[in-house]
């Protein structure tokens, strides 16, 4: 049963990711990216990372994708308006190089994961933890052991925010 659900979510992610790659219409790509993220969120939940799954839905689907679609909506659209449509169309370029790089990466990862014996390695290094909700643990860890990375991410966001504000202001 679990395997069926896994395969369903994995297929969902892969197929919608392929649509993102192959479609020429940016809006379609954005919407199918939404499905990809949803599939990923499902996969997270299956491996026991419930908080991550929910965060994925909240942040990526709720936040970033809406932003992306707004971006598509508000972008200056030219060219195709004469045909009564104002889609933003893109072209796929450098297909061969992209395919080679992707195939190389896939080959490397396939080799690693097939040879790696993940289950055995993990048995020797990690202790089994009972499957339970992870939110409390994550919250505690974030405020105790990992408080420095948590705080320092603030500096990162500050720099990014500053940059966004600067780059989008009008020149005097």
């Amino acid at each position: 049963m679990i395997q069926l659900v896994f395969i369903a979510f994995a297929l969902l992610s892969v197929v919608s990711a392929l649509v993102v790659l192959l479609t020429n219409n940016v809006l379609y790509a954005a919407f199918s990216l939404l499905v990809t993220f949803l599939g990923m969120a499902g996969l997270y939940v299956i491996v026991g990372a419930d908080f991550l799954g929910v965060a994925q839905i909240l942040v990526y689907i709720g936040g970033i994708l809406v932003l992306l679609i707004f971006g598509v909506m508000l972008t200056n659209q030219k060219g195709t308006k004469s045909q009564g449509r104002n889609d933003i169309l893109t072209e796929n370029t450098n297909r061969v190089i992209g395919l080679v790089v992707a195939a190389g990466m896939f080959g490397l990862l396939y080799f690693v994961f097939s040879k790696g014996h993940f289950a055995e390695v993990q048995a020797s290094l990690f202790t089994d933890t009972p499957l339970k909700a992870t939110t409390q643990t994550i919250g505690l860890q974030l405020m105790t052991d990992f408080v420095l990375p948590f705080e320092v991410s603030g500096v990162l966001l500050m720099a990014a925010l500053l940059g966004a504000a600067y780059l989008s202001t009008k020149q005097k």
Binding site: G116, Q122, V152, A159, G163, Y166, L167, Q171
Partner: protein, 472 residues
Amino acid sequence: MNAIIALSLSGIASLFLGFSTNRKNLLITTLLFVLVALGLNLADWNHEYFWFNNMLKTDNLSINFSSVILLSTALVVAISRSFGDDEEHTHPAEYYAIMLFAAAGALMMVTYENMIMLFVGLEILSVSMYILTGSDKRNLRSNEAALKYFLMGAFATGILLFGVALVYGATGSFNIHGIGEVVSRTKKGMELFEGGVILYAGIILIFIGLLFKVSAAPFHFWTPDVYEGAPTIFTTFMSTVVKTAGVAAMYRLLSISFPAVYGLWGNPLVWITCLTLIVGNITAVYQQSFKRMLAYSSISHAGYLLITILAKTPNTNGSILFYSLAYSIATISAFAVLMIVSENKPKDGKPDESFEALNGLSVNNPFLAFVLTVSMLSLAGIPLTAGFFGKFFIFTDAFSNVSPLFKNILVVAILMSAVGVYYYFKPIIAVYMKKGEIAEIQLPLIYKITLIITTALTIILGIAPDLVKNMF
């Protein structure tokens, strides 16, 4: 650690100082902030601390690297006067704040103990650099450079993160000492160690991420365009601070976590080093633009720094630090002279950055010509400059390594530094022998002081390298 806190806070403080209309105060305050951070950094000397649950670890090596980074930052801030001084660039407070944040990120990259801190530090530094690269908003080349750097850099960071995940899968730890422990415990019979493949792939992916940041050879394609497109002041920052931080992060990881599996990462790194040296030096010969030539030269210097990481002798700490310092100060004076001269000699409304722009500089500006000459000699590794001893220490390290592979690297490195002499002399010839008209350039006091410091340091370290080398 205190320096990181100080830099983050002073970054925000300098944002508020943007309300003040006096640009000069802003520069002086930022300089002061960096110097305060430098002082706080040195205060930890000879104390080994673990901070915040093993997130960071300050030791003398990391303090030395931090000092090199903060010194470079201070020198870059000191020559940043002209940028943001005209009407078009009205936001100097933002640049200074972002530079301070970037320095804080760089410090995290050299003091990290947990891989998370490496990632966050790298991201802070990278994001700041993407912004600074594109800060000349009206210049199309600057925009192109920023976008290119951002897209490629985001991929490199993703790959690095993937590598971190794989290393965690293979060793069960994010802590670099913890990783080292697991790796050395399971080292015997690496073939039987099931995590071997995962670990190997993880190391390679982390390598790709970090080598991209230091612009080593197969991952260097962004370097010339980004260096050329970015405003010169930020190119200086990129080629000194980012490179030192990247090399230090890599050295820290390899010397603490993976010394036991030298065989795994040593061989690929040897090829990468040779390729970096050859590509950087040979391509630099063909450049018409001084700035682009310096970009390729920075690729080749990444190659020399990689040799020290590979050499793995007891002297490595000292050599790598000395080389970073010598390279940073020489690069800062070279870029400073380029910036001053090109801004005074616009061509088609933009600063002229070709070699011809330097023609005849020595006639009316003997000081600038001298500074440029010393820095070029140092980068080429001519005796009596710091660069010579930097290369000397690196080659000695490589020579004392018993592996026969190292003799090959040494041959490549020496041949390539001979090639380097050719293109580093091009600007010197332009300055002293070519005819050209450059009126006398009035240097602000702070430029003079900075250039005197970098040049004096280059010469002093070239005559008495032990002054600093023994400290490391």
